[in-house]
Amino acid sequence: MEIVKQIAQSLEAGDDALVPQLTREALAQGIAATAILDDGLIAGMNAVGEKFRVHDIFLPDVLLAARAMYAGMDVLKPLLLSAGIPSRGRVVIGSVHGDLHDIGKNLVGIMLKGAGFDVIDLGNDVTAARFVEAARSREALVIGMSALLTTTMPVMKEVVDLLHKEGLGGRIKTIIGGAPVSQDYAAEIGADAYGYDCAQAVERVKQLAASAS
């Protein structure tokens, strides 16, 4: 399993050429795709996340690691699909209606993909109806909403209310983020979680997905 460790290390180093190469070599050695995913790619991303949390590394390093993760996933994906192994879960994300700011949301999307989630990014200016429809039709476990403006925050409540109205409340979890929102606001509108930055958002989504699946 030495090569799986090397995959994790190369991922931490953000080497998006070496990670897929090692992934192919590991498969050729007969190592299971799930083992490469869990002990190589996801283990590497977990280490990156922890280093980022304690400021040993910065955002660019995380994003580069995520890019290396995608490169490895591209190799594994067909095998995982053919073996019927699901991804960690599907997450629908977007900036809420009226809000054209999407940098924070994009970061969360990159990090979620890096953590092994299947991410459907609806972009910005997303209405409550679009969030709910996308989550239902694509069988998402979690809806992630971002807002930068106090004027657009109420759309988050609309999404939560609509989910409940359509009987999806509790089945599809919700997480919110962005400068004007807070844990208190999440509790106030009935959202399931709040992330104060992209690293925390990923941790919260992992918890939500685990409880939803």
Partner: protein
């Protein structure tokens, strides 16, 4: 090359007039020198002396002769002999404030007398503070006899830290063992001369007086090739004219007289043109180191030192507050900023509170970040890969961000200083989730972390044994058979 941002307070005419008046005072009023051996040395050097009155006068040619032989720059080296300081040009280095009587106890928030365990923690902490290049013998452990309180501090610093040490003696007798400790580290007199390990602070007494001890220290340091920093302390309105210019005249005269003593003892002795002048608060009868006037005198004195072509020092990045509060931050940061902009080569003060009499480990952690920020300021604004600008903007517009751009990764660490967790940059939610910690609590956590991360220094075991033997012998000499136990193995 970036423009080195620089503060200037004195015009050429005013600076030269201050120097001229100081020379006039030294020639006509002279200084008290309460040391017959030093007076004889000065007489041989060309000064006019009156042994009976313990007084010396310094004609212009004597001053010029002394100034001509002072090295224009010098370097310091750590216990391993590695270069750590280059005192030249506008290069700046920070040093903790020195010789406090007290320490601020984080747990009780009380100012108390420190002991050996406190000093060891200080030395351990300082090893991990990257923006403070030197140790100082920062405070005086109260659990040893006063007769060894100077040498004991140096002993602990050399045993537990690798950085060079800014120190000094309180007596003439202590000099020998403090020199011998340095020889134990370096191995020989020549090695110590070639690679200085310490700077000794030598303080004239304002107004215009050299005591027997300090004048002898200057001579002893010169003989051993140990650099000195002159710490003239005019107090505006009390022991010096109330005007900043008058205080500068006095500072210049006192410092020049020290230079003559040093160069008369041994031409070429390295020194820092330094000081700890202060405004005098006529309401509280105190000497505020955080006063802007104090800092202005420091910066102007630095300009005068640089006018002579000499490396400089000042006590300037410290505070008079009694706690690690907003005053502590504002006074220290203001002083450090002005000092760096002035190009004071050795900036003393971090960690210090209460008019140079109280050290705080938590404040050292905060001040380390102030030092880091001001050192970044000194680097100025420099084009790196900025011209032509169009390619990076094309990349930005194409990718929507530059977070993983090679340009970002190549330049981020050089362009931006990232302070440690004592400086709060978390968003409100994260700050709350991490415990809503105050500055003092965050600083204390860092103290704990850095002390915990300390590892024994690389100094050879034989040298450490020799240091211990020297210290034990010195303690016995002054009636102390047992030194305090040290819980941390060196």
């Amino acid at each position: 090359m970036a423009l080195r941002p620089q503060l200037q307070l004195l015009g050429t005419d005013l600076l030269e007039r201050i120097v001229g008046e100081a020379r006039d005072i030294l020639g006509h009023l002279g200084t008290k020198v309460q040391n017959p051996r030093v007076l004889k040395l000065l007489a041989d050097y060309g000064a006019r002396v009156d042994l009976a009155k313990s007084h010396a006068w310094f004609p212009g040619p004597v001053l010029d002769r002394a100034l001509a032989s002072v090295p224009r720059s010098f370097k310091l080296f750590n216990v391993m002999g590695e270069e750590t300081h280059d005192f030249s040009g506008l290069k700046v280095h920070f040093t903790p404030g020195s010789a406090a009587l007290h320490i601020l106890d984080h747990k009780t928030q009380q100012i108390r007398k420190p002991d050996t365990a406190d000093y060891v923690r200080y030395a351990q902490l300082l090893s991990g503070l990257g923006n403070i290049a030197a140790q100082s013998t920062a405070f005086i452990p109260a659990d040893v006899t006063d007769r060894i309180s100077d040498s004991y501090r140096l002993f602990l610093s050399l045993l537990y830290g690798e950085k060079p040490v800014v120190t000094g003696t309180f007596t003439i007798e202590a000099f020998q063992v403090m020199r011998d400790m340095q020889l134990a580290v370096r191995g020989s007199e020549k090695a110590l001369r070639d690679k200085p390990l310490t700077i000794f602070s030598c303080c004239p007494t304002s107004p215009l007086k050299w005591s027997e001890i300090t004048s002898q220290n200057v001579v002893d340091c010169a003989a051993a090739g140990i650099p000195v920093e002159f710490i003239s302390m005019p107090l505006s309105g009390f022991m010096a004219p109330v005007t900043l210019v008058g205080s500068l005249v006095q500072h210049t005269a006192e410092t020049l007289s020290g230079i003559v003593i040093s160069q008369a003892a041994r031409p070429g002795t390295p020194l820092l043109y330094g000081g700890s002048p202060a405004a005098f608060d006529l309401r509280y009868e105190t000497t505020p180191m955080g006063a802007v006037e104090t800092q202005m005198i420091d910066c102007a004195a630095n300009e005068i030192g640089k006018h002579f072509g000499l490396p400089t020092q000042a006590y300037i990045s410290l505070s008079d507050a009694k706690l690690l509060d907003a005053q502590a931050g504002l006074e220290t940061a203001m002083g450090a900023t002005l000092a760096v902009l002035s190009g004071i080569n050795s900036i003393s003060g971090p960690g210090m509170l209460d008019f140079e009499s109280c050290q705080s480990l938590e404040k050292l952690v905060l001040d380390n970040e102030i030092c880091g920020m001001t050192l970044r300021l000194a680097q100025g604004i420099e084009p790196r890969e900025d011209f032509p600008a169009r390619p990076i903007f094309e990349e930005l517009l194409r990718d929507g961000h530059l977070l993983i751009s090679p340009h970002t990764r190549r330049n981020v660490k050089a362009e931006h200083y990232f302070p440690g967790p004592v400086v709060d940059r978390a968003n409100l939610s994260r700050w709350r989730e991490e415990g809503s910690l105050t500055l003092g609590e965050r600083a204390h956590r860092e103290v704990q972390r850095l002390v915990g991360a300390w590892r024994p220094t690389r100094l050879a075991g034989e040298s450490k044994k020799e240091l211990c033997a020297l210290m034990a012998k010195e303690a016995r000499r002054w009636g102390m058979d047992m030194l305090p136990e040290r819980a941390v193995e060196a």
